[in-house]
Assembly symmetry: C2
Amino acid sequence: MTQTPKAPAFAPTFARRMDGMQASEIRELLKLIEKPGVVSFAGGIPDPTLFPQNEIRAAYDRVLSDPVRAGRALQYSTSEGDGDLRAWIVDYMAAKGTICSIDNILITNGSQQGLEFLGRLFLSPGDTALVAAPTYLGALQAFSACQPHYETLRLSDTNLNAEVYTAETAARGGRTGFAYVVPEFANPTGETMTEVERLRLIELAAELDAPIIEDSPYSELRYEGVAPTIIQSLDIARSGGIEASRVIHCGSFSKVFTPGLRIGWVCAATPVIQKLTLIKQASDLNASRLNQMVVHELASTMFDEQVAKARESYVRKRDAMLGALAQHMPEGVTWSKPEGGMFIWMVLPEGFDAAELLPGAVEEAGATYVPGEAFFADRSGPNTLRLSYSLPSVEDIEAGIARLGALLRQTLS
Amino acid sequence: MTQTPKAPAFAPTFARRMDGMQASEIRELLKLIEKPGVVSFAGGIPDPTLFPQNEIRAAYDRVLSDPVRAGRALQYSTSEGDGDLRAWIVDYMAAKGTICSIDNILITNGSQQGLEFLGRLFLSPGDTALVAAPTYLGALQAFSACQPHYETLRLSDTNLNAEVYTAETAARGGRTGFAYVVPEFANPTGETMTEVERLRLIELAAELDAPIIEDSPYSELRYEGVAPTIIQSLDIARSGGIEASRVIHCGSFSKVFTPGLRIGWVCAATPVIQKLTLIKQASDLNASRLNQMVVHELASTMFDEQVAKARESYVRKRDAMLGALAQHMPEGVTWSKPEGGMFIWMVLPEGFDAAELLPGAVEEAGATYVPGEAFFADRSGPNTLRLSYSLPSVEDIEAGIARLGALLRQTLS
């Protein structure tokens, strides 16, 4: 038998914007999670045992049992999103200090879609995106398709002012597209912006005449301390109202209920929401109305209860990890002490490389983490790493950190 | 009481790509649907009485009753999509003549998201998108954010060859990004490409070295005649395999089952799927795993049955509309005779303007349609309009077309 000659592969030319898009290291790392016996501090995803499975099942059943509601749930719907869910979010935002109407709310497929839309809305190629270093990797991925230049937001450096940013941006022929922050229990650091930092950010953004993106998926997961006022609310107090505010707030139901329904939202001045709605319509017409109606059922009946349940579980895990770190980590290793969320940020002594240490951590300590450099737009921070305590059990956290501590003690000595 | 001075509104500068984005006329028109007593031939959305509500409810119940499956359904998942659903689609595509593996399938939020991703993947600003005139409005909206130049695909004009397109595109400094077609029961014309046209398109695309986007949401809704081979399969026969094929096939479960779960797919060579997966990850991480699992339950248990049910209902509506048109339309008005799908395309005598006639149609004939110019990239075709028979009842179709015919008879005389 003669072999059929292999056909030449289709090798298309992609658009220029694709040059900046790369696969996520976290994604590649998630494959390691599956290894039996390895404790994953890498994932940073919610604990599935907390998902209110029965209540979600009952909510689908309620919506789909009523022929009229089912017909609406299963049909195409408006790009802005379900009116009842948007009304619930209006009340939720009001409790945070943002007085708005449903015209200020767009429903998105999780807050990730909100970020990606905001990149497209504000970033022409070459424009500057001001981001923390480190910052949420998914935001960098969302924005990178718009070919921005990343500049580090340095709010604790009082010497820095708008002129510095503006001069650098203008030199490249671009504008400042926006400043992006995760103000509560940030991914990856676990840290929370102080009110002083929030006010400084508002001033800086006003001087730059740029919007602020306040990405707030973890804010309900506070285990201690008092929540600072959200940046949007601080700006509204200063500017006079939601329509005058330059702050765009992104929220999510993924960390409280489940990421499986893919429902989040953006709250902003109506001209911003109107443009985002056009993007939503062109992108995927509308988020699943059925899932929106189910989220509304859940949010309006058991939001506080579910938040309490999640807090109660995660605080024990955070405490277990902080306790184990204090007990097992060698001198020279430092880490953040988050008041909430899912993440602890670790800094190794200078000269150590968390990415290089990872294979050893998996093989010898049976534990994974995410090397910190993935969270820096400029790929700096080789001696940093992100630990997440949301997924493993308290026992696995204690054992995994003990093994990781022993390995680091050995490596550092 | 003194009035509080109104705060100046936040007036951000948007990215340049937003200049090309406009609100959809269809969307504005959908608001007219709600008027009591007005028959809508505008919508072009599936008949909600055909949604398998009970089976969908049972499928959610089955997935969410099993704690292991529920945990997986409600968690973050891979951006490519659920393996079981992708495997079902592999079998489905094989039956259409496309032999592929799950690595050739990406799950999207309806086929609309596939189109938007493909725009971003292939169109740098100034590149050419070859589209039919008229074509699907949602595709124009999806592509327009990438600032392409639209060129009309003229497959019936045998004088046209690749040089003509290439010369025009090169003169603008761009490339041909792709050719986009809806080969079966096209939105808005209802027409189906012949095999000769399909082969001519494949030749043209090969000469241009450009991909072909085959958007096929309506293909299951065939009421008579024999389905031509899909373009992807024709190209595979010629090129030697899916990896050698330049055809990207977009499919959807929205027209057979329901648009409410927002599940569609893209089938293409793996390098294309890998890049699209990066875009998916950056855009919204993954489509709802729960909804994907429910669609898999439906597809693997009742696809053929549901297709038969939809065909049986829509063919009666199509026949009612074609019959009423033949009976009531005055001389000089012509229309397409679709073998399937949801749309009939009507051409009024030259000099008449379907957009101008619309308010009268609503007020006097109690019937809406979509003026055809929305479907032309260059806004031509003022004397055309799209009628959809999918939503109204047979009785409303007959009465509405009779009234529209009387109005046109009066207008044209």
